[in-house]
């Protein structure tokens, strides 16, 4: 299972990097989102043990590791906030540079 998880995470990472290397800024933003998914998966997989029941106090049996879950919960919301900021920057760039080609976005303009 670990091998499969590691494979998926690295595949997502590589896909995200490939997307970020596109000249099209929209694709770069998509790549960013894929990478943040990969990282969340990594955190999830790095829990100390796998559980049979959700992390509830009244659950019977082996509970899943609650600590990485709390971290991911935070990470999901934060990365959404960051993602929205990046998108609005994309829009500002498109207005100012009249393009969404990352290669044309260089130098200062006003």
């Amino acid at each position: 299972m670990e091998v499969l998880l590691a494979l998926t995470i690295s595949l997502l990472f590589a896909t995200g990097i490939f997307q970020m290397l596109r000249r099209n800024l929209i694709r770069s933003v998509i790549g960013l989102s894929i990478i943040s998914n990969a990282i969340n998966l990594f955190l999830l997989a790095s829990g100390a043990y796998q559980g049979e029941a959700a992390a509830y106090a009244n659950a019977a049996g082996q509970r899943s590791d609650a600590l990485p879950q709390a971290l991911i919960l935070t990470a999901i919301v934060i990365s959404m906030g960051g993602f929205a900021v990046v998108l609005s920057m994309l829009y500002v760039l498109s207005v100012r540079y009249k393009t969404s080609d990352s290669d044309e976005v260089k130098g200062l303009t006003h």
């Binding site: 997307q19 790095s46 609650a66 207005v95 080609d101």
Partner: protein, 1001 residues
């Protein structure tokens, strides 16, 4: 009680504060300079007096310490230490400091305009004085370094005091560049020494010399410290900054560049001699550098015409002498060192101050234009004559003794045989040239032909008294029979630096011996040089102008410029290139430094897993991967975004299988909101831009694709190794989770452990997190609404007249069917109820404030999409995103503070329901700080997310394309072809150009 050795420093610091106030306050504009000088001189004078009262104990062989803990965990203290060496320097710093401050008050004449100029000088001077005093009193290397840098910075300000003069600015930069660069090396060296000695304390470092000298890093320590000390003390080949620094006002030159700052390097070397000295490296490096500097200073100084430049070069020469003396491992050398420091400080500051008087009274410092001044200014002439005799090393002055002990050191049996001729010879040559320099000042400046071009007269008493006092002291020490206190002081200073007792006798006459013979040779050849000076100087000048060591400095600067030029060539502005460089460097570093090894791959899954679940997981992983890859391959942006969302939702499924229901919930709602925001942003990009982006994305050359593929594959491979290593070697026992599991229920009465971590155990993190999320919303608002308009952006979209706004496309499209509108009407109350349940049961069941907040914003999003911007604003007047954010954050703080009041601990859990005796709450629902916090999270997240929707969907930012369409609609409406009303959707459908054409193609 303030320790007596802190007091002098404290007084100077207070005086520095006062001087800064004078420089910026209106009071300083009206106060005459001389008042200011007298007022501010109180501090150094008081410091001097305090040090004198402290001195009997020091002279008796004791030392005083004061220490204030700074970072005790790192063993760092702000500590001061007073022993013989510190006392000698501190007396010079405060004593000459007081004289210079008074003198400066007369030196500056207050012009009508720029009335605060003199106060600015005083501020720099007092700040420098404080730093310098702190430097010599410092008891540990960190304190020493802080004050060391303080002297570099304040000296920069003083040299650049006449900042309108380009030459002054350049000189100041050069001085800062050289001494500041040395300072960086010094910091590294001091830290290395402190680390090796196990203590930052200077006394402890001095005591661990034996260990330091055999340390393998000893050459590095010595090299770094020497670099700092020798650049500061203007040693060759970095000596040229000192003559350049003469662009400072003369009082500053007299103070910094003769008596104090340039001796900081000498002080440091003398201070560290017990720790680092006595090795071959120490001897050869310091002897050779000192010798060369001594000769260069003596030689070049003789060619100068400017009085101050001449004095600067003679200072360079003297500093070389002192460095050479520290290099010797003999008692007599440290005797000579102490005498040399003191004698030089006395005569050189006097001569600089005289140079200032001459400049002040005649308007020039050029020896070719001066002469015959003795008639007009007899007192100044006498003062300068005495000081110059001391500089020349003639009896019966103190300078004679300094030269005698120097010659005694040069002929000492401890000098290795290879250089036992070179040392005395060089000392004689330098002595002769320095005598000639001193002669130039007196003969060409004060004697000889009087020039009519200036009407010089004596300066005010206080002004000539300032140089007269040190000059008189030079004479007194020579004439008085054995001034006991001064001899003891010098002996204590030499002892502290040598590390073993040194005896100092100040008797001038020690019988006929080798040093005296050499001294006679030096004096007679000096007089001979002086006699033929008019023929010798042009000759000397031709040689010295051929060899300019500042070439090295210029070369270094040019080299740095070239390097910067090369570095900026790589930065071509293409962000993708930067990304590639970063990724590849990171990969190389991981491979080279981390040397990762692929762990053994075990395909057997863990026994606790049910096989059905494992199959489901594998299936989900495959879906995640395929949909991510699909987002690359799908050509239309919209489809790519949908593929991305599929991938994200599959991650949610995986989370559910973990099982982690809270996560899965948040992931689902966040993915949905992300989709809305992405589509929203996409519609705002002009269509032709997207078409072009499409072109270059899918018309990329195969070579480029292959390159990107390889880079992505390398990054993925590195990631694979990292992840696999991390997963296979992770500890299988959690340190923290058992604590949370056991305490969630008893401490926070929470059933949901994840929720308990979020709102109770790690509540402060969560507060910061929602604050970050709130800032994200505000940042988008600022970026899109505020920044583009306030910056006077030419390309900012023009505001469209209000009445047409609701016909804009995107989020504001009114073209939705009544059915969809009806759904939206139903959806919003439903989401509110859902959110309320999440907030209430957040502690007991899956879900929490984050989920609730995002759900509410999804309900609002459906309204924006169905009714359009204006309509939503009109129908939901209670929707105030910024207000939500503020209320949420305030509620969080309020609940945390209430917990602090009730429990005495910030963010601790309080069950209000139980306290107030509300017994009728349903099972699993609590009225507690946790509930309040969940509500606050919900409010903040919803507020920020709605703010994002609101900003991205605001029709005022519509692109030109939409604006044209609006104008078309307006034209149609005016011609009466359509009527605009509540439900004009159908007419607009007809009126607008059809939207079905594929946007990307």
């Amino acid at each position: 009680m303030i320790s007596p050795i802190v007091l002098p420093l404290l007084i100077c610091a207070l005086s520095a504060g006062l001087s800064v106030l004078l420089a910026i306050a209106p009071l300083g504009r009206h106060m005459p300079s001389r008042w200011m000088g007298w007022l501010l001189a109180i501090a150094p004078a008081a410091a001097f007096a305090l040090l004198i009262t402290e001195s009997p104990a020091i002279l008796a062989g004791q030392s005083a310490r004061a220490s204030i803990p700074w970072m005790p965990s790192l063993g760092l203290n702000f500590s001061l230490h007073l022993d013989g060496l510190s006392l000698l320097f501190a007396l010079l710093v405060s004593g000459i400091g007081a004289l210079v401050t008074i003198y400066a008050g007369y030196y500056f004449t207050k012009p009508e305009q720029n009335v605060n100029e003199d106060a600015r000088f005083f501020a720099y001077l007092m700040l420098f004085m404080t730093s310098m005093l702190g430097l010599v009193l410092a008891g540990d290397v960190i304190t020493l370094f802080v004050f060391w840098e303080g002297t570099s910075v304040t000296s920069f300000l003083l040299v650049a005091y006449k900042y309108k003069d380009e030459e002054a600015r350049r000189s100041a930069f050069r001085a800062l560049f050289i001494t500041g660069g040395g300072g960086i090396a010094l910091l590294a060296g001091l830290l290395l020494i402190a680390y090796s000695a196990g203590s930052a304390d200077l006394a402890a470092i001095a005591g661990s010399g034996d260990a330091l000298r055999v340390n393998a890093l000893y050459p590095v320590m010595f090299g770094l410290v020497a670099l700092g000390a020798l650049t500061k003390s203007a040693q060759a080949p970095a000596h040229f900054w000192l003559p350049g620094a003469m662009s400072a006002p003369t009082p500053a030159s007299a103070y910094l560049h003769s008596a104090t700052m340039v001796k900081a390097g000498i002080y440091l070397l003398a201070r560290l001699h017990p720790a680092l000295g006595g090795t071959d490296l120490w001897f050869w490096a310091l002897s050779i550098i000192g010798l060369i500097t001594m000769l260069i200073g003596a030689y070049v100084g003789f060619t100068q015409h400017d009085l101050k430049a001449l004095l600067a070069y003679s200072t360079v020469s003297q500093l070389g002498v002192l460095v050479m003396l520290i290099g010797q491992d003999a008692e007599v050398a440290f005797k000579a060192l102490a005498i040399g420091i003191f004698a030089h400080a006395l005569y050189k500051s006097a001569l600089f101050l005289v140079a200032g008087i001459v400049d002040h009274e005649t308007g020039t410092r050029d020896l070719r234009r001066l002469g015959g001044l003795w008639r007009a200014m007899p007192i100044t002439f006498v003062v300068s004559g005495v000081a110059a005799l001391s500089m020349a090393g003639l009896p019966p002055l103190f300078g004679f003794l300094a030269k005698e002990t120097l010659l005694a050191t040069a002929t000492h049996p401890s000098v290795p045989p290879i250089v036992d001729v070179i040392f005395p010879a060089a000392a004689v040559v330098a002595g002769a040239l320095i005598l000639a320099q001193a002669g130039l000042i007196v003969l060409d400046g004060f004697l000889g032909q009087a020039r009519a071009e200036h009407h010089a007269h004596e300066p005010p008493v206080a002004m000539w008294l300032a140089p007269a006092l040190p000059a008189a002291l030079s004479l007194a020490i020579g004439l008085l029979p054995e001034p006991e206190a001064i001899a003891t002081l010098l002996a204590r200073a030499a002892t502290a630096s040598y590390g073993a007792p040194v005896k100092v006798s100040l008797a001038l006459w020690t019988g006929i011996n080798v040093p005296l013979v050499l001294s006679v040779i030096a004096i007679s050849s000096g007089l001979a040089i002086l006699a033929v000076r008019s023929r010798l100087r042009p000759l000397f000048d031709r040689v010295s102008s051929a060899v300019r060591l500042s070439v090295l400095y210029d070369g270094a600067l040019t080299g740095i410029d070239r390097l910067a030029w090369l570095a900026t060539r790589v930065q071509n502005g293409k962000l993708r290139l930067y990304l590639v460089i970063m990724l590849l460097s990171a990969s190389v570093m991981v491979v080279l430094i981390g040397r990762p090894e692929l762990p053994a791959i075990r395909m057997i899954s863990e026994g606790t897993q049910q096989p059905a679940l494992t199959i489901l997981r594998i299936f989900t992983l495959v879906v995640i991967s395929i949909s991510a890859i699909a987002s690359v391959l799908l050509r239309r942006d919209l489809f790519a975004i949908l593929a991305l969302t599929t991938s994200g939702l599959s991650v949610a499924v995986l989370m559910l299988l973990e099982p982690a229901p809270d996560l899965a919930l948040v992931q689902v709602v966040v993915e949905s909101l992300t989709l809305v925001i992405l589509v929203l942003a996409l519609t705002r990009l002009p269509r032709e831009q997207r078409a072009r982006a499409f072109e270059f994305t899918f018309r990329q050359s195969y070579l480029g694709l292959a390159r990107d593929f390889v880079i992505a594959a390398i990054s993925g491979a590195i990631m694979f190794v990292i992840v696999l290593t991390a997963l296979t070697t992770r500890p299988r026992q959690s340190q923290l989770t058992p604590f949370f599991e056991q305490n969630a229920k008893p401490l926070t009465s929470a059933n949901d452990i994840v929720g308990a971590i979020i709102v109770d155990f790690r509540a402060f993190d969560t507060l910061i997190e929602i604050a970050v999320f709130a800032v994200a919303g505000l940042a988008i608002y600022t970026l899109l609404r505020y920044a583009s308009y306030k910056a006077g952006d030419r390309d900012a979209p023009q505001p469209i007249r209000d009445q047409w706004m609701r016909f804009l496309r995107g989020i504001a499209s009114p073209r939705t069917s009544p059915f969809v509108q009806g759904l939206a009407r139903l959806l919003l109350p439903l989401t509110l109820v859902l959110a309320a349940i999440h907030v209430l049961y957040g502690h007991d069941q899956p879900g929490d404030g984050f989920t609730a907040g995002v759900i509410v914003s999804l309900g609002v999003a459906s309204w924006y999409v169905s009714f359009g911007y204006e309509e939503t604003k009109r129908r939901l007047p209670w929707l105030n995103p910024a207000g939500f954010i503020g209320a949420g954050l305030l509620l969080t703080l309020g609940s945390a503070v209430s917990a602090a009041v009730i429990n005495g601990s910030f963010f601790s859990p309080v069950d209000f329901g139980k306290r107030l005796g509300i017994a009728s709450l349903p099972a699993g629902v609590y009225f507690s700080t946790a509930t309040l916090f969940e509500l606050a999270i919900c409010l903040t997240v919803a507020g920020s997310a709605v703010l994002m929707l609101d900003t991205l969907g605001h029709p005022k930012d519509a692109d030109a394309e939409s604006a044209q369409q609006i104008q078309a609609i307006a034209a149609l409406a005016q011609r009466g072809e359509i009527t605009l009303g509540e439900d004009s959707t159908d007419q607009l459908e007809k009126a607008l150009p059809t939207e079905e054409a594929k946007p990307e193609r």
